[in-house]
């Protein structure tokens, strides 16, 4: 089953990459892009009976390995089930 994990730097953490991108875009004439935050995106192919099982597996994996809680937060999505339960930007791809 296909699950997706989004890992983003916590808002309190300075994101030099995002900063650099905004600056670059500014000089390219894209001043309308006010802010950019860069994160990581994982597509996991997991063996699981149910979307719920897939979600909890992906969540465990994200928690233990994919994200570093000191600086990052994560969000898990599963193709088959409803929208991502947790708050934060909703992804239109899930329905």
């Amino acid at each position: 089953m296909r699950t997706r994990v989004f890992v983003t730097l916590k808002p309190s953490v300075f994101d030099p990459q995002g900063r650099t991108i905004v600056a670059a875009l500014g000089s390219m004439g894209y001043g309308a892009v006010r802010d950019v935050r860069q994160g990581k995106y994982f597509e996991l192919e997991v063996d699981a009976e149910t979307p719920q099982a897939a979600r909890s597996l992906a969540t465990e994996v994200a928690d233990r390995l994919l994200a570093n809680p000191v600086i990052e937060s994560y969000r898990v999505e599963v193709d088959a089930d409803g929208t991502a339960a947790d708050p934060g930007p909703r992804s239109a791809r899930t329905d």
């Binding site: 030099p16 390995l65 994919l66």
Partner: protein, 234 residues
């Protein structure tokens, strides 16, 4: 005394640490493969620099799950001296031996050069032989060495005197120019509360011989020799 140098897949400063411990300091040293289940009676454990698991995902993120890390944990819990250099520091942070995290360098580029660091604390096994405020000229070589921690964590580290090394200028003044990677509070190295586990981004093992441009790193490794000689190994 006996140094154990942990070899993770992708470690590439393991032999440098071995050379410094064995041929420069004249101590016993052995390389310990990450799948080992014993540290072979080591008095000191070194987590060397490099790119464990290619630095994929996050530096040190995968290495922390290596079997040998359980033994390192026991060793540290028993008060044994553990030092993590560069990638080794990153592993210690990921594994929770030390507090904080390392982010991409401020300029987003890998940076290899000599920098100056000030010895802030001399009551750790890896700074004991230094004098307080002593300035060391050491090489750095990393892309992700910008130290970060929550403000309260940094405050606690300062309060508990856990910041062991700080980036500075040639005369020891902490300045923007002296901070090569944008580390918070110019932090180059920290220790745990018990003070037996130390991690730092600069490479003392690369600065142990005049032929290599600096001998300032010797004091870091010599500290542990004297320290452990004095207290008797953990």
């Amino acid at each position: 005394m006996r140094f154990a140098i942990i070899q993770f897949p992708g470690s590439n400063c393991d032999h440098d640490a071995y050379h410094a411990a064995k041929h420069v300091l004249g101590q016993q040293a052995q390389l310990v493969w990450h799948k080992e289940s014993t540290l072979g009676g080591a008095d000191v454990v070194v987590l060397p620099g490099g790119f464990s698991y290619g630095d994929y995902l996050r530096t040190g993120a995968i290495a922390r799950f290596s079997p040998v890390m359980r033994r390192v944990r026991e060793f540290a819990d028993a008060g044994g001296p553990v030092i993590g250099i560069c990638n080794g520091f990153q592993v210690l942070l990921e594994a929770g031996f030390l507090e904080g995290a390392l982010l991409r360098n401020r300029r987003l580029k890998f940076l290899c050069r000599h920098v100056h660091v000030r010895v802030e604390q001399t009551d750790t096994p890896f700074s004991r032989a230094a004098s307080p405020g002593q300035v060391l000229r050491l090489p750095i070589a990393h892309g992700e060495g910008s130290y970060h921690a929550a403000p309260e964590t940094v405050a606690a580290l300062e309060a508990n005197r856990q910041v062991v090394f700080r980036y500075c200028g040639p005369e020891g003044a902490v300045t923007e120019a002296g901070n090569p990677n944008g580390s918070l509070a110019a932090i180059a190295g920290v220790c745990n509360r018990r003070r037996n586990v130390v991690g730092l981004m600069p490479h003392p093992e690369r600065a142990c011989e005049s032929a290599l441009g600096s001998e300032d790193g010797r004091v870091v490794l010599e500290s542990v020799v004297t320290a452990t000689a004095a207290t008797g190994a953990a």
